[in-house]
């Protein structure tokens, strides 16, 4: 198989384990993001794929070959670093052609490869500049150009957009996605930003504390998060969690408010304490329903974010319609039928 196969990979620094047996299959041509809070091991895993960190246990297989003991230069990968890591004493063209120069490729070939990549990335006019003469977004593009020129089996991106301002980040996000659609090179992309992960990836790997929490397509993670962590991590604003109790097919909060439940798996759940999850965008203001008190109103133009209290629990709602609700008002909420998620209060795993 082409692509990347990670099997039971572990990483330990002395007695400290940072990655505890991670297995991920990445298909040929797939765009996979590793996402998770800082310290979850996603960058370490990427660096292990690149060969910049040793693998303590398990195997990493790139394009049908176990690469555990293969040095980075022979792994047929290219990496884009968070700080771009451009060589300051080389021009843009020299930066991009460096790997080919090391392979003793002849000059004409290097030039055509560099020109081709520059064309794709709109860098043609900047080829003679030095990195210090470029803006952040341009440097980012040069770093990508350096990767493209090599035409590798796998692209590795290590939080490549985190040094850019918000607007540029959105722009580069679609550029990278467009680039992938054009080149169809297998890509592993590390980010802590779930929006980046959602918008770009074919497949998302959510990690926490050196373990994989869930692997899936962006919308699958959004629609059916496997546990409380993924539910809270994917989506913005994050999913609301309301502690409740499941009794004979009814969900009742600790404050005695009954929450709607269309879950068909009711019988299988059994009576127990649960966490009831509902996304902010799945709530609407209605004439009747679940009573709530408005704490804060944040209009953003396209939609309005309402911070509410349902019983003792703080809840966020995002509504499309303009609202006249003011802090202190009592309103009623309707939840979109079937949009609720139920998690075991004890382990956090999805019920149903």
């Amino acid at each position: 198989m082409n692509g990347v196969r990670i099997e039971g990979v572990k990483k330990a620094y002395g007695a400290v384990n940072v990655i505890h047996g991670v297995s991920i299959d990445i298909e040929d041509g797939e765009f996979v993001t590793l996402v998770g809070p800082s310290g979850c091991g996603k960058s370490t895993l990427l660096r292990m794929i690149a060969g910049l960190e040793t693998i303590s246990d398990g195997t990493i297989n790139i394009a049908g070959r176990v690469v555990n003991d293969v040095p980075p230069k022979d792994r047929d990968i290219a990496m884009v670093f968070q700080n771009y890591a451009l060589y300051p004493h080389m021009t843009v063209a020299e930066n991009m052609g460096f790997s080919l120069k090391l392979q003793k490729t002849d000059k004409a070939k290097i030039k055509s490869a560099v020109d081709g990549a520059a064309e794709i990335l709109d860098l043609t006019k900047l080829l003679d500049r030095y990195p210090k003469q470029l803006s952040g977004g341009q440097r980012q593009r040069v770093a990508m150009g350096r990767a493209i020129v090599r035409d590798p089996e796998v692209f590795l991106f290590d939080e490549p957009l985190s040094n850019l301002d918000a607007k540029l980040r959105v722009q580069m996000r679609s550029e990278i996605k467009g680039l992938h659609q054009r080149l169809k090179t297998t890509t592993v992309y590390v980010t802590h930003d779930q929006i980046e992960a959602m918008t770009m990836a074919d497949k998302i790997v959510v990690m926490r504390d050196g373990k994989v929490e869930q692997v899936g397509k962006p919308l699958d993670l959004y629609d059916r998060p496997a546990n409380l962590f993924v539910a809270g991590f994917i989506g913005s604003p994050s999913m609301n969690f309301i502690p409740a109790e499941w009794t004979n097919g009814k969900v009742v909060t600790q404050g005695g408010i009954e929450l709607p439940s269309a879950s068909s798996a009711g019988g299988a759940i059994g009576n127990r304490k649960i966490v009831y999850g509902i996304r902010p965008e799945h709530m609407t203001i209605a004439a009747s329903g679940i009573p709530a008190t408005v704490s804060i109103v944040e209009p953003t133009g396209a939609e309005t974010v309402l911070l509410l209290k349902v019983g003792e629990t703080s809840v966020t709602a995002v509504v499309k319609d303009r609202t006249t609700a003011k802090p202190g008002d009592r309103i009623f909420l309707q939840f979109q039928p079937g949009a609720e998620h139920m998690f075991d209060a004890a382990g956090g795993a999805r019920l149903s």
Partner: protein, 323 residues
């Protein structure tokens, strides 16, 4: 780059505030008070500096216009022919020879110190306890008093007591000591001087290496660079500025070479190891020609000032050169 940049940034705080006021044409009272306070704090240092460095230099300059000879104290204020010393030094072959010796010694030692310093720094730039210990031990030559260094090499170069010559004897080699051999005496000084001062360049290069962004090396490794290619294409260009500054520092310092020559060769055999600094010493303290040696010192001082200016230019030029 960062140190200089940070320095500039630090200065821009009060500086920019003053800039704003300067445009308006008046300084507010608190700003004037602050400036007065700064001057008050600086004054003692400036006064001491003036007394211990500027005044002696001035006296040196004045003396260089007299034919002062300690045997005849009246010559201290004899300004009848103020340029006599400067005319003499134009035709003084022994002085010219000393400048030539100085140039050879300086160039060769600086190049060797840079090469050894660089090589050893690259080898030592690995963070392990063993390497840390080694790093410290490599600094020993530099921190020893120069006269002790000279004595160590005097012992090493003396066949009767040198462990090296004991070894040569065991091996059956008959080798003459270089310090009494006109063809090899300067080389003997070069070896000792390089040993004494390569730790300095090594230290500066190690500091620069420690600040080198790790991602650049990693990018090159992923790009396919071998260790040699990494050093040649990435590390050395990164160190260019540092090497230049370290080299210029050593160049200036090399003009002040004295203990090694005084102890090892006395400037000899003949005058093959007589550098300008040593020649000045001989003129003043062996022959008591204080006036003439002051003039030679002024020339040397002028050379050092020019070199220092080059260093300052190089260092400040580097601050906006990197990244």
């Amino acid at each position: 780059m960062s140190a200089v940049e940070v320095g500039n940034r630090g200065r821009s705080g009060p500086g920019s505030a003053r800039g704003v006021y300067a445009k308006a044409g008046v300084l507010p009272v608190f700003e004037k008070q602050r400036q007065r306070f700064f001057w008050l704090l600086l004054a003692p240092v400036l006064a001491i500096l003036g007394v211990v460095t500027l005044l002696p230099t001035l006296y040196l300059l004045i003396t260089s216009f007299t034919p002062l000879n300690l045997a005849n104290p009246a010559t201290a204020w004899d300004f009848s022919d103020p340029l006599v010393n400067y005319r003499t030094l134009l035709t003084d072959d022994r002085l010219h020879n000393s400048l030539w010796v100085q140039a050879k010694l300086s160039l060769v030692t600086v190049v060797l110190q840079l090469l050894f310093g660089l090589g050893i720094a690259l080898l030592l730039n690995v963070r392990t306890p063993l390497m840390n210990a080694l790093r410290t031990s490599f600094l020993v030559p530099m921190v020893l008093p120069p006269i002790v260094v000279a004595i160590i090499w005097k012992v090493l170069y003396s066949p009767d007591i040198s462990p090296a010559w004991w070894l040569f004897q065991v091996l059956g080699w008959n080798i003459q000591t270089p310090i009494t051999n006109a063809a090899w005496a300067l080389s003997a000084i070069v070896v000792a001087d390089t040993w004494e001062w390569f730790p300095f360049t090594m230290l500066i290069i190690l500091a620069a290496l420690a600040m080198m962004p790790e991602e650049q090396r990693e990018a090159a490794v992923v790009d396919g660079a071998s260790t040699w290619q990494l050093t040649w294409y990435i590390t050395l260009p990164y160190l260019k500025q540092t090497l230049m500054v370290a080299g210029l520092f050593r160049l200036i310092d090399s003009i002040k070479t004295f203990p090694l020559i005084y102890i090892l060769t006395d400037g000899g055999p003949g005058s093959v190891t007589e550098v300008s600094n040593y020649y000045i010493f001989v003129q003043s303290f062996s022959f008591s020609y204080i006036g003439y040696s002051s003039a030679v010192t002024m020339v040397l001082l002028a050379m050092i000032v020019v070199l220092s200016w080059v260093i300052v230019r190089a260092v400040s030029g580097g601050s906006n050169g990197d990244q």
